[in-house]
């Protein structure tokens, strides 16, 4: 681990020193050194669901698209509309290849009639940056932009206590510009936890001062990748590179309901055909019968026959049993199908997402 952390090609976020000072356990994640945990994964998980946690998400990509031509070009590569997206609104989408394979999943934010702010994942960053520049002449602001996720039922109160007044009326999946100590920031009411929460975008040099102030708030604790993973898994959200990648289409990822079939995009014909044929493996929620977790890579069996594979799995701290996602045939994917998984034939049952049903994200 020491060798990895000191390798020059691994990047540090502006919050690296803060994490080291706190004694966080660090790990390498898609070329970045990030905290896995501070006080403990379970503790951080529960704190997020009951109060407010902050996450270092500076590793993610950010791009600005200017002009209707650029936005239209993006629209041709994603499965829903971007031109008619209203100012101040956010939209979940994916950049697709021509066969519907998912190059990345994104959140797009309409900042003005002709400006779109696009947030992307760290894994496929190089490829996405190339595509967005070639096709949309996007400005890559990743290097100078820090992102801190503030998530939990008390997150609104925390940000208001810090003076970010403009966020008060924000509805779920909307965004606004706001101020902290006279500095401008962009905030979206989005997140990866299923709780009321916000993603704060700010210049790199403000990241550490903002982090220090928000973590000084009595209700706030820092949380790492470990808790980020258990939280998103309980909601059934995908982790790019683990649950979805270019080998999966949006339909296979179980996200067909997000597709705007009236929009024109280059992979549409392919997805129409796939939808009509209806024969593919779909990402499905699975749960175990006790605290044991199904693990990534476990093969899934139906009546003894191998039918698919687990892509993510863990103990769900808020639900109290093992949960996960597996790609299994569509006709086995309805809730309640009894299956087994892994080398010890763990008994599992399909279950609808989200596993955790009391998230405050819409509140």
């Amino acid at each position: 681990m020491k060798a990895v952390l000191e390798a020059r090609h691994v990047k540090r976020t502006p919050l690296y020193d803060e994490h080291i000072l706190r004694g966080a356990k660090m790990t390498e994640f898609h070329g970045w050194i990030l905290p896995v945990q501070f006080k403990g994964i379970l503790e951080e998980h529960h704190h997020t669901r009951s109060k407010c946690s902050v996450f270092d998400c500076c590793h993610m990509g950010e791009f600005r698209l200017k002009g209707s031509k650029a936005i239209r070009s993006l629209e041709a590569m994603v499965f829903n509309d971007m031109i008619c997206l209203r100012v101040g609104r956010c939209r979940y989408s994916s950049i697709l290849d021509t066969c519907g394979g998912i190059i990345d999943d994104i959140i797009a934010m309409k900042l003005s009639e002709d400006e779109l702010f696009v947030v992307t994942n760290a894994g496929p960053y190089e490829k996405v940056a190339r595509i967005l520049y070639r096709v949309c002449l996007a400005t890559d602001v990743t290097a100078g932009t820090a992102k801190i996720d503030v998530q939990g039922p008390l997150s609104r109160r925390v940000l208001l206590d810090l003076g970010l007044r403009e966020i008060e009326p924000l509805k779920y999946f909307t965004c606004c510009r706001t101020q902290w100590e006279g500095f401008e920031m962009l905030v979206s009411r989005t997140g990866y936890t299923g709780e009321l929460g916000y993603e704060v975008f700010l210049p790199n040099d403000l990241a550490a001062p903002f982090w220090r102030e928000v973590t000084a708030h009595l209700e706030v604790e820092p949380a790492g990748l470990g808790a980020r993973d258990t939280l998103r898994l309980e909601m059934g959200y995908t982790l790019y590179g683990q649950d979805v990648d270019e080998s999966h289409t949006t339909l296979e990822a179980g996200m067909g309901r997000f597709i705007d079939w009236n929009s024109d995009f280059h992979a549409k014909e392919f997805l129409i055909m796939q939808r009509e044929l209806g024969r593919y493996k779909v990402r499905t929620g699975i749960r175990s019968m006790d605290r044991r977790a199904p693990r990534p890579g476990y093969e899934v069996f139906h009546e003894g026959r191998p039918v698919g594979m687990v892509t993510s799995g863990s103990y769900g701290p808020s639900v109290g049993y093992g949960i996960g996602m597996a790609y299994i045939p569509v006709d086995l994917s309805m809730p309640g199908t009894r299956l087994t998984a892994g080398p010890k034939d763990m008994e599992i049952v399909t279950e609808e997402f989200p596993f955790y049903k009391n998230g405050s994200f819409k509140g």
């Binding site: 403990g40 994964i41 379970l42 258990t230 605290r291 977790a293 693990r295 093992g322």
Partner: protein
């Protein structure tokens, strides 16, 4: 740091001589490496085990691990509290977080294990 009166194995189990029975658990180092423990599988009471048999399982958020018998004997008691509250092992690996108790342990097998001092040195090499 590691209790002096215990003996230790290379797989980070500890064993304590309680007179009639020997008590087994996992060390603080093991618990720390695992992180928050979420599931523990204990052996059946009455099971006869040999030294180094895998007799119990531990799972954490990020890993799964086997627990091996530090010495042979018969399982006479298991710590059922751990089934619902596996986090006890993280909080108290040497006391409340004991896994199981063995009877009929060979003195020679017990003596062959590492002392606290030897385990300290062993840890430095990890």
């Amino acid at each position: 740091m590691n209790p002096q009166h215990l003996k230790y194995t290379q797989n980070h189990e500890w064993i304590r001589d309680d007179g009639k029975v020997f008590v087994v658990g996992i060390t603080e180092y093991a618990a720390e490496q695992l992180g928050d423990i979420t599931y523990i599988e204990l052996p059946e009471v009455g099971l006869d085990v040999a030294q180094d048999d895998d007799v119990a399982s531990v799972e954490s958020v990020k890993a799964a691990s086997e627990v091996y018998a530090p010495a042979g004997g018969r399982v006479v008691e298991v710590n059922e509290r751990l089934l619902d509250q596996p986090e006890i092992v993280n909080k108290s690996p040497y006391e409340d977080g004991w896994f199981f108790k063995l009877e009929g342990v060979e003195r020679a097998e017990f003596d062959s294990l590492m002392s606290a001092a030897a385990y300290e040195i062993y840890l430095k090499e990890q």
